[in-house]
């Protein structure tokens, strides 16, 4: 779930729609895919740019907390797995920027919007990775939360986004299993490793719940996006499914979820659980998470210090092109 609090513009009330908008909604209701050259309401286009852009930024910024442990991975095999995983995230960012480009916005433009704060990325990547177990917890919890959201998005109405999700989901489920495998090793390891594993769960549990966005009652843009089939489930539905899935996994690991109220509710057929601290969530979105400053600084540094490289490559390509034309 790498898109949170996406502002959706446009109406979901049929009586207020123009004939084009109503016909567009009919196509979506019939389960048709919308393709880049098709007519679409401005609101649909703008909402998707925000959503896909935020998702892409999350993949790129999401490289940083895990990249933090590549040079310190404990074995050659773990190093190879982690490096391949972080590389996959860069690849996901690339597909998603390409999907956004089909809507008429360039990758450079989206990058500038991230770097000057006009666009966000998922709140989860503003939390630090402090021990090796955090690399396990990110794969286990964060990738699992992402999968909850992205599997349904494979069926979303916008063709390029839907196809990007199909590719991404295959890799995400692989990452989730790798993360869980690290947790198994840690939870069954030495006393110190168990302590790292429990500590990682303690710190990542509530931030993982926040990934699904605010409670449905406060999620003002959901109805429009759901009618357009670019949001497939409500935040609370996905959060509940996540908790129900993770509880037995934590039990299997012998780890304790840091929520004293967590209990199976026979009547609902689901677990009851405590809300995260939503004021912390809003603080993180406002830039006050533990790592917001470092994450954006790292991205700005890469962008600014890479400028001469991008310009040099471009200048060389133009010279070659000119020479080729001159030779013809």
């Amino acid at each position: 779930m790498y898109a949170q609090m996406i502002e959706s513009s446009g109406t979901s009330n049929r009586d207020e729609m123009t004939p084009e908008e109503a016909a567009f909604q009919d196509r979506i209701d019939a389960g048709e895919k919308i393709e880049p050259r098709d007519w679409m309401p401005d609101g649909y286009r703008e909402t998707l740019i925000r959503q896909i852009g935020q998702h892409a930024h999350s993949e790129i910024v999401g490289q940083l907390p895990e990249g933090n442990w590549i040079t310190r991975a404990p074995t050659l095999e773990r190093k190879l797995i982690l490096l391949a995983k972080v590389q996959d995230e860069a690849g996901h960012g690339l597909y998603l920027y390409c999907a956004a480009e089909t809507l008429g916005v360039s990758r450079d433009d989206l990058t500038e919007r991230l770097l000057d704060g006009r666009m966000k990325y998922s709140s989860i990547f503003n939390y630090p990775t402090l021990t090796w177990a955090d690399i396990g917890a990110v794969g286990w919890l964060v990738d699992q939360a992402a999968i909850m959201n992205q599997v349904p998005l494979q069926r979303c109405s916008y063709g390029p986004y839907s196809r990007a999700m199909i590719r991404i989901c295959k890799e995400e489920s692989f990452h989730q299993r790798q993360g869980f495998d690290i947790m198994i090793k840690m939870a069954r390891g030495t006393g110190e490793q168990k302590r790292m594993a429990q500590d990682a769960l303690n710190r990542f549990w509530y931030p993982a719940l926040m990934m699904f966005g605010p409670p449905d009652g406060d999620s003002v843009h959901s109805a429009r996006s759901m009618a357009w089939r670019i949001k497939m489930n409500t935040n609370d539905e996905l959060r509940q499914k996540f908790v129900d899935d993770v509880v037995p996994q934590a039990e299997f690991l012998g780890l304790t979820i840091p929520d004293g109220t967590l209990a199976w509710n026979e009547e609902r057929g689901h677990h009851d659980f405590a809300d995260p601290d939503w004021s912390e969530f809003h603080d993180v979105l406002r830039g006050n998470g533990p790592c917001n400053r470092e994450r954006l600084e790292a991205r700005r540094k890469a962008w600014d210090e890479g400028r001469w490289v991008r310009e040099g490559m471009l200048a060389h390509a133009r010279k070659k092109e000119t020479a080729k034309i001159a030779a013809e």
Partner: protein, 248 residues
């Protein structure tokens, strides 16, 4: 130490230390495509390191992880070139190019080694080194030729790294024995091809090779590494050192 083990450490440590350096870029490269390509190179090199260290380990009764994570700097046998810091993208890609231009002919020669294990690892690695060289050469050419700023940065990169580019070709007693046993080529025999590759790329890049014939040495026999290696190992070996005996 037996000759194959010592040789495998030279090969494995080059790949491990360079792979470590390149992996430091992950998430920080100038463009997404470069980020992905650098990660690919690091993955290849660390994968190669694992194969060579496994071979060394077979002779030494140790695992590849034990060799990677519990030896101190003086037991590392990598060239000084590969432990040099990334500095900027220009230095990183110049270091890669100077190494690849040596690594590919070496691996190609090793593919015909009298040791089947050496030949097998070299054959697999040579495929990877072929596209590493294609890419690092193309990058050096593009950035040397690109803008006045990229040209100046690539010239600086060459000045910084040139004194580390000659160590690879200096043969010692171990090399003499490896040549006699048909295991590995004489490193000095690889110099001509390296020079041809580098000269042609620098010409296209509109860069001049620095004139100095002075070269630092001390990496491939472990006698005098640079100060950088200790810091690489401090970071790379942290978990294995802090929690000895744990399984990860």
């Amino acid at each position: 130490m037996d000759d194959i083990a010592e040789f495998a450490l030279r090969m494995g440590d080059n790949a491990l230390v360079l792979g470590h350096r390149v992996s430091e870029w992950c998430g920080h490269a100038p463009a997404l495509e470069e980020d992905i390509a650098l990660a690919n190179t690091a993955l290849d090199l660390i994968g190669q390191a694992r194969m060579w260290l496994e071979l060394a380990g077979e002779h030494l009764g140790r695992t590849a992880d034990q060799l990677a994570f519990t030896r101190d700097a003086w037991d590392f046998r990598n060239l000084l070139l590969v432990e040099q810091p990334n500095r900027d993208f220009g230095v990183t890609m110049t270091r890669q190019f100077l190494f690849d231009a040596f690594h590919l002919p070496l691996l190609t020669a090793l593919s015909g080694s009298s040791s089947p294990r050496v030949a097998e690892i070299a054959l697999k690695s040579a495929k990877e080194a072929t596209y590493h060289l294609d890419r690092s050469r193309a990058t050096v050419v593009a950035l040397g030729d690109g803008t006045p700023e990229s040209h100046a940065r690539m010239r600086d990169a060459l000045d910084i790294l040139w004194p580390y580019s000659g160590e690879a070709f200096l043969a010692d007693d171990l090399d003499t024995r490896l040549v006699e046993a048909g295991i590995a080529p004489d490193p000095s025999s690889l110099r001509a091809e390296w020079e041809r590759t580098v000269t042609s790329a620098l010409a296209e890049a509109t860069l001049d090779a620095p004139g100095s014939g002075f070269f630092h040495q001390g990496g491939r026999d472990g006698s005098r590494h640079t100060e950088h290696l200790g810091h690489i190992l401090t970071e790379m070996q942290f978990l294995q050192r802090a929690y000895p005996g744990a399984a990860w």
